[in-house]
Amino acid sequence: MDLFRYRPVIGLEIHVQLNTKTKAFCNCSADVFEMEPNTSICPVCTGQPGALPVPSQEMYELGIKLALALNCKINEYTRFDRKNYFYPDLPKGYQITQFFYPVAEHGYLDVNGKIVRIRRIHLEEDAGKLLHSGENITEADYSLVDMNRCGIPLTEIVTEPDIESPEQARLFMEKLRTLLRYLGVSSGDMEKGAMRCDANISVLDTKTGKQSNKVEVKNINSFKFVEKALEYEFERIVSLMEEGKEVERETRGWNLNTKTTVSMRSKEEAHDYRYFPEPDIPPVLIKSEYIQKIKKTLPELPDERLKRFMEKYNLSEKDAWTFVEDKEIADFYEKVVENTNDPKETANWFLTELFRLYTEHGKENIKITEKDFVELFDLMKSGVISRNIAKSIFEESALTGKKPKLIVEEKGLKQVDDYELIEQIAKKVIESNPQQVETFRKGKEGLFSFFGWTGHERNKRQS
């Protein structure tokens, strides 16, 4: 298969759960993760007869914040519409969304220099969750509905089909998550469903100029699978094209177990959602002063911070992004540098030691503080400890929370600067290891550390 002949054309539709205190249209708490089923519900979000939706101000605010960060034009006139369909997880029989006049349009996100245009961003409510009594929906005797998630505010971000590879799709999602966390508008956790992705892919045959029909892939629930699902789908479509078969315009689901996509419904089965303006919620005119006010609350965004890190701390783009990508890490780095006044050395310790410990023990178990860095650097720079010893002290301090100085004192790890003592120990080591001395003299320099270590042990026993 000549994969270079074919080019994927990818667009994403991403649902992001907004970090509001209340649900989109009622006062129920929106923090429902792992909550007892049906405990954060009310007449409004369960669609009781006579109940009416009242939009949350905070939802508009966070939506606009995100739209601004994605360089979108905020529409002056915006309104909600109803998307009508029947399903047990949708208590009103319609979803309140924005179809005709979304809150924002025409933005972009820079993904490693590639500009991916944003077509539109709109606000909507989430549906509930079905729990089936059997293995799956077709074998279930009955199903239960958990309405905690009904009415949780979402923004849907729709990109233009600008993405050129499955990898780029993943990078887009990761960049978006970083942005969400910087803004504080969403946790961006795909695993917890706070960010969900549907991908549209078609394939261009560069030789003939023909483009396949568009296939939508749903149910992608991790960053890794964004890439995997699109890779699978790309190859599937290319195979069909190579065989001269028609690529059906359809919706396919990513199957986690088989790592394949499976047809969910064809175009003929597509719903007619009968969109029309939501009569229970008047349209909103967003004033430019309001937008300006929100703009002022925007924090420094990842791209700006990346640039600043490169200039101010003299870091390479790659290293700088490693910090900036995770807001917590970037914040910590800056805090440490503020104390150590040594961006280069700090960066080195972050990139090697700290990140290793993060991976090995989990970020949440690492207790090292900016003060610890200062102590450690001082110990090292004043020659009290060697770089190698500093590493082990760093590890211990990071895992236990003990101050580096204390560790040094407790373990007698001080670098000895009493030359007479060193000479004495060295002599003894040479005397008691004549064979090793001989080998060393013959040129086996690797034995150097053996002498160092033995000397160190001897010294410890003495003190």
């Binding site: 009781q48 009968r274 029309f276």
Partner: protein
Amino acid sequence: MERSLDKQLFKKLTLKDAMKYVQMYHDSDELVQRSLEIINEEDKVLNAFISVNKQPGSGIPIGIKDNINVKGLETTCASKILKGFIAPFDATVIKKLRDHNFSFIGKTNLDEFAMGVSTEYSVFGPTKNPHDVERVAGGSSGGSAAAVASGEVIAALGSDTGGSIRQPAAFCGVVGFKPTYGLVSRYGLVAFASSLDQIGPITKTVEDSAILMNIIAGKDENDSTTVDRKIDFTEFINKDLPKMKIAVAKQSFSEGVEEGIKNKTEEFMELLRKLGHTVDIVNMDEIKYSIATYYIIAPAEVSSNLSRFDGVKYGLRISSDSLSQMYEKTRGYGFGEEVRRRILIGTFTLSAAYYDAYFEKAQKVRRVISNKFSEVFENYDFIVTPTSPTVAFKIGSVSEPLVYYMMDIFTIPANLAGLPAISIPFDQINGLPVGIQIIGPRFSDAKLLGFADHIERKIKI
């Protein structure tokens, strides 16, 4: 006022006097007792009530249309599909009435989900007209109108989407007021067509309507379509009013309007002139588009609003092997003929292929009609039409849906344009009441009530 009220006195008791009574004796048990006695006697024939409250408590007895939630009572909407549904919360208007010492005597009859003009589409059978029990009480708030007209209750609440308060008030010879859209909270009113629905009073006098409006109106944080206007609806009650300029729609005399009704409209014009007001006949040709416009917008909203009745959460469920069959059976059996018809119309007009041709177009015509009214109000204070082109008709005499639909010709425009409109009784034809409708500009509710009150007092003299 006597402490002990006999039934005849009670039947004529206005809300204003009932409030005086409660103030005087600090007790309303007598009122509640009388109301229950009369319902017990009259309602076997009238069928104004779907349910009577077993624990009405004390307070001024009021009837509530059975599409408005009263916590703990059944809300049926006169439909099979809400079987067994107990309202889990009070409508905002009910909360307000509770705070003002009202007693919810019972839930009144209506056409299923308020779709109809006669209560003949109620699953509980039609309400009879107290003036002639062979005839309908009108609809959809026919139960509320008949309950007030027969004296079963002091006052009642109805809802008006295309004339559902005003037309039954006209048929039963009482006052029905539809406020400006947005003045009264719809929270707790089971939605029919959200952009047209408005709760309003049905009372024995205009003043009573104004008193009730002062209680039920106001911005509600649970209904984002309500507006913040501090209106005293009784401001112009019993006041000397300046001379007004009145436009009578030429269409009041068009084909399809009963001769008797045309004559009464002319007599009403005479009365206005005699009282010194200026009266002109104004051509409002746009009125003729209102039925078609209404029967696109209202069913579209219906098709969406009634989706929640799906057998999953409350009310009727006809279990089945598959989900789609459960939906089909539950909704197919649970909804009556007229409701199904409107859901089908709305589903069609909202479908992607027809949205522009129907729904979008209807929205435009709605603005045209609204603009026409604004234009007339530039030169006139109020617009007058008959409330209904006919008097109350015989039960079972109309079978064509289109004939039914035409009956709302004069009342629908006020809903499309969001205007306040009142129906007041004006004389009778062969013992059957005639209602005259007066429409005002948006938020002229207090002035409109004042003007209607002024006319009502002149008629009574």
